[in-house]
């Protein structure tokens, strides 16, 4: 493993950093405060090619690797966790499964506009009774002539109301296995916004990433064309799990960015803030805290980059992705919490970025597989 980035990745980082500083950072506080989806930023990111980074050029993407994509999410999240997850959900959870499992027609119709940023993507797996336990799915799809008829609902969907194209999972049959247990067969579908019978429910009021549009999706006799089945019928669980492997790299990169952003702010702050006649950075407690934070951030970065590189070179990267997400998310929570503590009273005030970053960081331990799920994934691979 090469621990040095080559020049093109360094230049890509320069680009993402410049964009984040100029276009994203000035809006981060307002996006959090008003909970308004940053549509203007998304349009600018589309123009700059940020919405199709790992998608091949023949499908409208940038033809870069997963590492470049992870670095983009990292740099955006350094200044705004909301913007980071918009790109992550769109790319990892919508572009990627269509690129991996879609037919040529589906790729031309859906992946091309997604990768160009003309359309925004989302992913609907979670239901009220089916979070960590994906087998708990209640949404059903029944084939009726040339159409699938969807009924059910999905919750906590990122880019919920703002997306145009959705990858949705639903139960298409129930089979009995060799031991006589019934098993739900899940399939994946591509659903377009505006399809009759597809509506939006409640907008979630969240602790963090408050500008991301998190909605309930409701399907009531929603008829979609037969050809919008993604991958094979009944193979949706595998598609979801594979998609989440990639998604975890995006969220790990978001967590990494949040931790790095909080660390940067804290370093600036402790050099300026004076107590007892000295900058608080002159106190050993502060120095040790900063040292620990920086060391963990660096370790998290190596893990995230390793997972991203594994996605480019390995057929499966489940463990690498789970380890990166588990570690980066827990580092994000720890580092942002320490950042607030080192800011003292100011850290608890909304004017200071670390307050928002700590709230944003918490979700990285929960969505796209909780930290507990990551531990299950890692240990089951080791103990099988």
């Amino acid at each position: 493993m090469d621990f040095m980035l080559d020049k093109k990745h360094e230049m890509a980082r320069t680009l993402f950093k410049e964009f984040a500083e100029k276009e994203v950072k000035p809006l981060a506080q307002e996006v959090d405060e008003t909970e308004v989806f940053p549509r203007g930023t998304v349009e600018k990111m589309a123009k700059a090619g940020f919405l199709g980074i790992p998608v091949p050029k023949e499908y409208g993407g940038q033809g870069c690797d997963p590492l470049t994509y992870a670095m983009c999410v990292e740099e955006l999240s350094k200044v705004c966790g909301t913007t980071g997850v918009i790109v992550s959900a769109h790319t990892s959870l919508c572009c990627d499964p269509i690129q991996t499992y879609g037919t040529e027609e589906q790729k031309q119709k859906y992946l091309v506009p997604l990768a160009k940023g003309e359309k925004l993507g989302a992913f609907g797996l979670t239901e009220p009774g089916a979070g960590t336990d994906a087998q708990g799915q209640q949404t059903k799809a029944v084939l009726d002539g040339d159409e699938w008829v969807l009924n059910g609902s999905k919750i906590f969907i990122t880019n919920g109301k703002e997306a145009d194209i959705y990858v949705i999972f639903a139960v298409t049959s129930v089979v009995t296995d060799a031991k006589g247990r019934s098993k739900k067969m899940i399939s994946a579908f591509i659903v377009e916004k505006g399809t009759p019978g597809f509506t939006f429910g409640t907008k979630e009021k969240k602790m963090g990433i408050r500008g991301s549009s998190t909605y309930e999706l409701i399907f009531t006799d929603c008829r979609i064309p037969k050809e919008n089945l993604l991958g094979q019928e009944g193979k949706g669980f595998g598609i979801a799990m594979h998609t989440l492997d990639g998604g975890r790299i995006g969220i790990a990169a978001q967590a990494l960015g949040l931790a790095e952003g909080a660390l940067e702010r804290t370093i600036e702050y402790v050099k300026e803030r004076k107590q007892f006649g000295r900058a608080i950075g002159a106190f050993q407690n502060t120095q040790f805290q900063i040292a620990d934070m920086a060391t963990k951030v660096q370790a998290a970065q190596y893990m995230v980059y390793r997972a991203a590189m594994a996605k480019a070179t390995q057929k499966t990267y489940t463990v690498e992705a789970a380890q990166a997400k588990l570690y980066a998310a827990e580092v994000a929570m720890e580092v942002t919490t320490k950042a607030v503590q080192l800011h003292g009273g100011y850290g608890y005030i909304r004017e200071y970025d670390v307050e928002r970053m700590m709230r944003d960081a918490k979700i990285t331990e929960i969505y796209e597989g909780t930290s507990e799920v990551q531990r299950m994934v890692i240990s089951s691979a080791l103990l099988k």
């Binding site: 230049m11 123009k47 940020f50 050029k57 870069c64 983009c72």
Partner: protein, 260 residues
């Protein structure tokens, strides 16, 4: 249409400035960026490419490291990059630089040459007009707007309180202001392509119709007597007064310092 854009890798002033013992800049030791006026010139060329179709070649003279700024320009959309680098070209002032760039451009076909008005490390605003003089083509400086009409360019030339509209037949040279436009971002895919592309590297031997006596430090009529880092100004004094009181206050201050 063929457009040549001259760009320069300049020190990023955020990173601090370092000098060689002879007073010239230690370019190898500093963080660098694409000169802002040049970037606006490149953006203008790329917009002409988008609008009318054009081949955009970026040209720079510098250390081998200056290749980075060419790749950046290509990641924004330039088609070709040419680096002119040679030890004998080091320490060039504006005269030797413009001779070098003109010598390189003589190898190329072009309808339009765009340079930045001036570089933030030298602030001379001389190289662009000098290149046009060497090549014997018209120059329009301080462009704030550029349009193409047939075989001519129509340019708004900026002044403090007005602008002139000038029309010139191509080929001609335009010097661009940073205010001309908001340069586009590189694209991630553009960066990957730029690093896969070949950069043309030329040395002294590739320069056409240029005498050795006009190149490098030896060919530079201006020599740097002394250079020093800029002494930072103090924070100054800020007072909040109504306009009449403010005038009195300033006049008193100026009198006290014997300015008036």
């Amino acid at each position: 249409m063929k457009i040549v854009v001259c760009i320069k890798q300049v020190p990023d002033t955020k990173g601090g400035v370092k000098f060689n013992p002879d007073g010239t800049l230690d370019r190898g030791a500093m963080l660098t960026i694409m000169n802002p006026d040049d970037k606006a010139g490149l953006e203008a060329a790329l917009r002409l490419k988008d609008q009318y179709g054009a081949e955009v070649t970026v040209l720079t003279m510098g250390l081998p490291k200056a290749e980075e700024v060419l790749r950046e320009a290509m990641a924004m959309g330039a088609d070709k990059g040419i680096l002119v680098t040679d030890r004998v070209l080091g320490g060039a002032d504006t005269w030797a630089t413009s001779q070098t760039l003109a010598g390189a451009i003589r190898n190329l076909e072009y309808d339009l040459i765009i340079t930045g008005r001036q570089a933030i490390d030298g602030d001379t605003a001389q190289v662009g007009p000098q290149i046009s003089e060497h090549l014997g083509i018209p120059v329009i400086s301080y462009a704030q707007k550029i349009e193409i009409e047939g075989d001519s360019v129509i340019v708004e030339r900026q002044f403090d309180d007005r602008y002139h509209v000038l029309k010139a037949k191509m080929p001609c040279l335009i010097t661009a202001l940073a205010e001309l436009n908001e340069p586009r971002y590189m694209t991630p895919g553009g960066i990957f392509d730029a690093y896969d592309a070949d950069i043309t590297v030329w040395g002294r031997a590739n320069l056409v119709d240029v005498d050795d006596s006009n190149l490098g430090l030896k060919g530079s009529p201006t020599q740097i007597a002394k250079a020093s880092d800029k002494v930072r100004k103090g924070a100054g004094e800020k007072v909040t007064l109504d306009p009449t009181e403010a005038v009195d206050y300033i006049v008193e201050k100026l009198k006290a310092k014997h300015v008036i």
